[in-house]
Symmetry: C2
Subunit: 321 residues, 2 copies
């Protein structure tokens, strides 16, 4: 397809307000279905829902893994509780991204998102790689961030799927802060990257100024959209869940890095845009023509080291004039 | 050194207004020396000068390599023309970064920057890896962007030097748009990354909105500072060189991604900040504790592919629910 073909696509992001401990999955799925219907009415072909969309952001609570599994994990997707969302998607012909806590048949736990096509078929699955937080109990912290306790590191890589004639990649929450996440997908010709997030407004690890939480969310989405020439749809679960506040600012970002749609509150809210997939193509042909400009032989440290280490020995010419 | 030690450092960025074809190197070096003196008076210990600081941004002109070498390249650094800058640096005890066109003794051409310590000794050299533009003559374009004709791809990697008790990395102009640049240096524990740039306000390759040029500069510096927990000092040569306009917006960016100092015009202008090197350390201990959170085995495509290609085969579990 040439760059002059119009490749417009209806993208919606369904931000969710809080899900409290007392809220049932059925009540949550009703909210998701209502937003799916609104998105479809606004000509969306695909809807991005948040990370761990079906429950409160439970990694903030200390409990055993077994307690977490019983209350918060899904053994199948779809399941009885989420079937109404899949039914509505099929009826409306709208695909979606949905994040949930996955329990596998062999008892493994992942922070997962599925990609569902407009026939309501699950066509893809991603498991979160960059788990933030800790695995120990921090009794003096105002809340916990126990993703490293409740989930394993994702083991499916960063796949890209062609669905609804778009190359789509997925990631989840903290993954968006890591440039490797985006690059692994743009090197597979991703055109649209979708993600959900639950981002606490307070950092329990140090006295980070609160305004930085939303600011970091913005700058990583904007720069990553640009640097990888992809459209981005990012959906928050936000507001105060039983007193624990999380940031909003769900947004759609263009491959130019510009925010083209943004949620204005901290409640359930659908934002939508008619996005031009060829805009990404333009950037990939010029400034980000990877084949022409990248030098992988000079990037080896990215895969050869995990943590930061000492400077490499200097080439002789790099040490003097 | 613990995080409670105050590690304050005086950083200045010396933005340059235009250098016209008619301007002599002696006149340019006088301007650099004046800015070095101002920076020192404002308690700076290190000054960042632009890319190709000694001449006009000559890759905009079609000419033979030999013509370019004769007019625009330096055979040694320091040399007779730049010696006054080195003398002033030694007198004032201020280190600096300076970009110039390098001709090696064996006739190779690089877009180079040197790192000079407060004794005016050249302690490091970097050669630009990500050369933008083209190598052919585009007679219909309003100007050329011939970096791929006049320079070889840099062959020194992305070294990090410890100088003035700071781990310093260097890059040049278009390098800043590539996340790999920053990561290669933060994995070597860089604390401060300095760069110069000449960024034309108009993109000759497509009808890119002009406002995006400065916006992209901003978002890549802000996100890269944050994602790599480094301080950034970025110096423009800007304004209209013989009618060809380039963006300004030289800036100092904190590891929080916040712009802490910014040039306000398109002329010679020194901006300065007293930066806290321990702020980067805080980010590296928490959200960007690389050893704890990175998964290099899932990043392999970054070094295994140069250009974007087809999606990888999907793991079986990534294809269905």
């Amino acid at each position: 397809m040439s760059t002059t073909d119009a490749r417009k696509f209806g993208l919606a992001v369904a931000q969710m307000g809080p899900v409290h401990l007392a809220d049932s999955r059925q009540a949550v799925v009703k909210r998701l279905v209502a937003m799916l219907r609104e998105a479809a009415a606004r000509q969306a072909q695909f809807v991005v829902f948040p990370e761990l969309a079906l429950t409160t952001f439970f990694p903030r609570y200390w409990m055993t893994e077994q307690e977490a599994v019983e209350r918060y994990f899904e053994r199948a997707m779809p399941n009885a509780d989420t079937q109404p969302l899949f039914d509505a998607a099929r009826e409306l012909g709208v695909g979606f991204y949905l994040g949930y806590a996955e329990l596998t048949p062999d008892g493994r736990r992942f922070n997962t998102a599925v990609l569902v096509d407009r026939a309501a078929k699950v066509v893809g699955k991603y498991r979160k790689v960059h788990l933030p937080g800790h695995d120990d109990h921090k009794p003096d912290a105002p809340f916990q961030h126990l993703e490293k306790k409740f989930f394993e590191v994702g083991n499916l890589g960063f796949p890209v799927w062609n669905t609804q004639d778009v190359n789509v990649g997925m990631c989840i929450c903290n993954d968006r802060r890591w440039p490797e996440t985006w690059r692994a997908m743009s090197l597979q010709s991703a055109e649209l990257i979708v993600l959900g997030y639950n981002t606490p407004s307070w950092n329990i690890h140090w006295n980070e100024p609160v305004h930085l939480r939303t600011f970091h969310h913005e700058i990583v989405l904007q720069a990553s959209a640009y640097q990888n020439a992809v459209w981005v749809g990012a959906a928050a679960k936000c507001g105060s869940e039983d007193g624990f506040h999380m940031i909003g600012s769900s947004m759609i970002v263009a491959p130019s890095g510009e925010i083209v749609a943004r949620a204005s509150g901290e409640e359930d809210e659908v934002i939508a845009a008619r996005i031009d997939l060829d805009l990404g193509r333009t950037f990939r042909q010029h400034v980000f023509n990877f084949a022409k400009h990248r030098s992988p032989e000079q990037y080896r440290l990215i895969v050869e080291r995990t943590g930061a280490g000492a400077p490499l020995p200097l080439p002789p010419e790099a040490t003097h004039g």
